[in-house]
Subunit: 310 residues, 4 copies
């Protein structure tokens, strides 16, 4: 596929997806997220050969929110190893809301996977550092290195907005502490989690980061080995099974690639051996996924034959 | 990869897996399944070019049990269409035991996916025919045509064994009837379900059947279009997310291909664009999957680079 | 308290309660129950000395529904003994809807108490007789003897109405059969249960029956020992904790006596050492209790100082 | 009944109960509670006429733990009124473990009743004062006034023991804060809760306190109106339905009086119109109730005909 054609496909996908936006809504439980422009929609694709393709509002920075969970997971796999990560969070779909405490109680505090909130907090609690700031600082370094871009920062307003409202996540943290899943300080883990959710990127930065997951763990542009193939399979499998909240199955059927969404409106998709895709559209569907972003992904999967299940 | 090499790989996988068998157990809740020889272990691979490779106890017939759920799903997609099937069973992982009624109650009787028992019974209830015998007769025809083998039959002893014990599945059926998920007769749906679970095949027959799912819905040996590509993506995605009971995530991480297991000891795995794999080993792990079969799959995935997540 | 005064109190309670009726609704899931006149309201009190006091629509026959559960419990305690009954159903509040299967699954099929549907079906399954008709026949005899009235019968139309719709209760029955809680035939137990729910009485008959529970197990009018004091404490305790579905606590706070309600609009209340009260009002509140009946009970408790918690 | 006889009955009850102690266990999750002598067993009865009767280890101070929940409830009813208390915690049995978060999630954070941990923390959060110390100080004053004994204090070691371990209760607090059930500071509410649980009394002090609940809210010895009759019925009803954790039903059947137990080994029982009973025995049964204390209560109920359900 030639590059100019790929750009056309992206333009066409944005056009296709735009009408669906108006059925979506901004999340209302994190004030800072409710203040963005709901009509934005953009996409960026990085292919393994280094070419970059964009369409729509690809250059607007947005809060990556839950997409940060996969970077924390990747860093934890690198620093602590798969065995220790598995001891803190499983790799099975939860079948429960991402914020739920129910399954946690029935399963002795061990989160089903690293992409529900509990699992993400457990994973973040494993990151090096004592305080929330220290843990986050290492993770931000990891992210910046992946993006090759030191300008990536946390949005302090979003962070403040989350930190003052999310008592549910604090409950999750203390609950896991009770069961011995969190070793250190609960507040540090939860604070680091709020920070990582508040990191901002645009589609170009986000899709740049995903490349190593489409290339066996090696950044195809720098040839740096970010992680081992075993961890890549781990991450991509978990993304495929649990990456889109309670719509992961529908996404697997209709799009068929490992991906992670965030309530900030972003979705990062990985096509092993081919490309990394980032979309942005802040209006969400009732499952919490970017309503326009999902449609872009569906169109791309169809036009470019991306599904792994073909 | 040359054919003789693939056979070597299979032999080596059986050798690798055999020691794990002794940690497994035969299921005790269906008397007929508790009477097989726990030490058996076999595998058969059909590649898209029509070559067949075997190792171990590949020619022992076994009860396909839950593997039948994917054939019923495929037939229902063909006869009723995806939209109607989706109205009776979703495509999301359940996060609950495959036999559970809990989620069914919380979600108004609609099963999460067609591979948990509730979903399978709902799908089977949609198959043409009024009685259990009629519904099953059509499904058996579908299976025989897929296998190109009219000798495939139900094991009457296994059927009898299930039908007289499985009050849990009857409860599931009546519960869905209460919620209007099952339209017709509950007993007919449950009876057909017991029958389909009792179908017997060996690894050669089973892997033969899976070929169309590795080839966009077209049987590569006969060139018959069994189903449309859209349904193939549907089925493979559901297999990937929900095919191995509560170990689907672990299987995705370690093996990385769509697959379906049964408590009869079989596992059918699909590698899109490459091959269909059937393994048999009746000793089960604590999740209800063939303990030796899982190991064979892991070895094959590693040796042949089968994971879709690479 | 003199008798004419008690009648005045009853009249005044009906007057007090009548305005609340219009906020209530007839149940819609059992067709036969949706066809009664929602404006009816009546009460009858039997005191231990044999005096009878009535007000309002005390002589309209109604379907006793769940009130039958306490008679089945009493008969099972007599015929099988407390130990065996306890093996089939506990004595703890459930905290779940009366029709729910969730707790049943988590607690290995054993119902929390004999007043939720599962517990009632388990208790009825213990009654003498093989078929539903036989089990019910014995229970009806027990009821008639308690009432001293052989004219009491089942309403065949109500029975038919329940039997053809209640797949949820069939699910409950098969689920308990799976766990070994029901020994005999599921259909017989469920059928007997539908029959007992369809028994009709008016307030005079119903309050007459309750007298032995207010008098240590001895019918004060005939001096017949219906049951032992130990069983009376058992029954009254269970009524107090679980008798009004998910409003048992509120009823305990506001009325404070053992009681059992039914979706047919009846409530039977026991005041140990003093009296038995039956009210009828088919319009139900959102918890499934007679909305006017509850108000009558509250007024009587207040006027006559009935609460055991004073 | 003459006084010397009542003492005999108490002695006999302690004798009867003592052999059961050895089947019990000290709780291990609060270190301070695991260090008491498991063989202790005592009882004290205050009758409405002011006579006091004791047997066994009646004068050993113990940690009242959950028994404090009823004093906090009583004070909250006095200071905030029943309506506001009802807005923070219901009056229905939970059917779930006292520490559970599951039902809280399904029911939007509102605890079922004030005697499960969540409900108790919600009630304590309503007590006057900003900090945990302030809230507790008022409650301790209320308790001391009830006992007529200013020597009652919190055991600082027990408090420290709870405060450093109970992350589950912190989780409960933050979870309710998320749902808006807790208005003020979570840490203050939880801290006050830990403090109230750490109050120490002996059986004489504890049974002295219960007298007003057996006498329509009026302390029979001082004639002080502690609360209104409506609140007494509220408290006694909730005690009857929810006072003994998940053994409330069994206690209602076998003993039949309103009561509250604590994992410190105490049980306070109220017999309206007659007496207040406090027992102590730190060895617990598997439900978390004093194993010897329960037996004493059963014996007293039988010997003195205490059950309200007779």
């Amino acid at each position: 596929m030639q590059n100019f054609m790929l750009s056309d496909v992206l333009e066409s996908a944005v056009l296709y997806a735009r009408p669906y936006i108006k059925e979506g809504k901004l999340p209302d439980y994190i004030p800072a997220l409710a203040e963005v422009h709901p009509g934005k929609l953009g996409v960026c694709v990085h292919t393994l050969d280094g070419s970059v393709h964009v369409a729509g509002d690809y250059n607007i920075p947005f809060s990556i929110q839950s997409i940060s969970k996969l970077f924390a997971l990747s860093q934890a796999l690198n620093t602590a190893g798969a065995e220790k990560v598995l001891a803190k969070a499983g790799v099975e779909p939860s079948g429960n809301p991402f914020y739920s405490l129910v399954q946690l109680e029935y399963e002795s505090g061990k989160p089903r996977n690293p992409l529900i909130n509990a699992g993400a907090i457990a994973v973040t609690s494993m990151l090096p550092g004592e305080t929330g700031e220290e843990k986050f600082s290492g993770l931000l370094g990891f992210i910046r290195e992946l993006a090759g871009d030191d300008s990536i920062v946390m949005n302090a307003y979003v962070y403040q907005s989350e930190a003052t409202t999310s008592h549910r996540n604090r409950a999750v943290g203390h609950f896991m502490k009770h069961f011995g899943i969190i070793d250190g300080d609960v507040d540090a883990a939860v604070d680091a989690y709020f920070r990582q959710c508040s990191v901002e990127m645009n589609c170009v930065q986000l899709s740049r980061i995903g490349l190593y997951l489409a290339n066996h763990g090696v950044d195809p542009l720098t040839q740096r080995a970010v992680t081992v193939p075993e961890h890549v399979r781990y991450i991509n499998a978990v993304l495929m099974l649990c990456g889109l909240y309670d719509a992961s199955g529908e996404f697997a059927v209709k799009v068929g690639i490992p991906a992670k969404s965030g309530v900030g409106g972003g979705i990062l998709g990985i096509v092993p051996g081919r490309m990394s895709i980032a979309v942005y559209g802040p209006a969400l569907d009732e499952k919490g996924n970017s309503i326009g972003g999902i449609r872009i992904m569906e169109k791309l999967s169809s036009d470019l034959q991306l599904s792994l299940f073909n």
